[in-house]
Symmetry: C2
Subunit: 197 residues, 2 copies
Amino acid sequence: MKKPAISDTPILDQLRDRWSPRAFSNRPVPLESLRSLMEAARWAPSCFNVQPWRFIVATRDGGDEFQTALSCLVEGNQKWAQHAPLLLLVAAQMNFDDGKKNPHAFYDTGQAMAHLSVQATALGLFIHQMAGIVHDKIVQTYGLPDGFETVCAAAIGYYGETDSLDGKLHDMEVAPRARRALSESFFSGAWDRPAAV
Amino acid sequence: MKKPAISDTPILDQLRDRWSPRAFSNRPVPLESLRSLMEAARWAPSCFNVQPWRFIVATRDGGDEFQTALSCLVEGNQKWAQHAPLLLLVAAQMNFDDGKKNPHAFYDTGQAMAHLSVQATALGLFIHQMAGIVHDKIVQTYGLPDGFETVCAAAIGYYGETDSLDGKLHDMEVAPRARRALSESFFSGAWDRPAAV
């Protein structure tokens, strides 16, 4: 299913066509595509180039490792994410090497994931990020060292069958995409004064 | 100056060619390009679609508004960012509507900025994000409401003259881009166990 951004303003195809589905096909993600996703994230910018992002990768053909990663999602997400061929668990290094807090750790990790998602769209893949993860379980299962925090997870794969979802999940899948107007996010001169574009 | 990502793995041109220069031309950013940058950020994903990002936009032809925004950067950044035709100051809404903390506010704001930067690259523009801002000054100058935090700033424009920078700034401008190996960011099964790709 296609759900392009609803806009008269031209933006890059890979930004326009990106959206977050729940109906994934079980078709595997080719290894060379996975490598491109990782490489896209790798070249994201970050404060002092510290690259705070870390990703735990689990592919469905990895067997137990996939089930382990899946069990780190809240149940509501497991229900649909179990069909995706690829899961990512995302963590961030919260301090600089000198021990001081890096206030941009989450921000830059978001940039890396955005790069990855743009690359995914370029490869015909879809990605659905999830806040609903079991943080403590990830820390314990994978042995996160001090100084790292769990952030979120993502399911990645090709689009499946919209009708494989039922009830509320189906309703969300077919709901139109929506965003605030630019005038509510972009200001000029003072807060809440819309930028003149 | 071009500084493509150094990689044998194919990634989208707009990710490969993005880097963060300090030598900006004073050529203005066309209004339709600015609109596309904003629209690209607008369609980024966010937790519960709350779109926590806010941007204060200042164009050099805006006169006083540009100087005001520029004065919110630390001096070291003003030195080179003053030549860019477009500055953004970035803020994030830290709570959901019910008052609970949104742990993904910075992460999602990073995603919006990454979308904007990919669109910038597609338009032949460059963007340099800055952690070095005077947070209190932004809060006071623009009247940020409670619940919002300043995040960072960005200079945007066309590339200028590398030799317009001197000393350490010039050295940084011509330094090769570098990133950790994928094996140090992407794990599988356990922390620090490199994903097999």
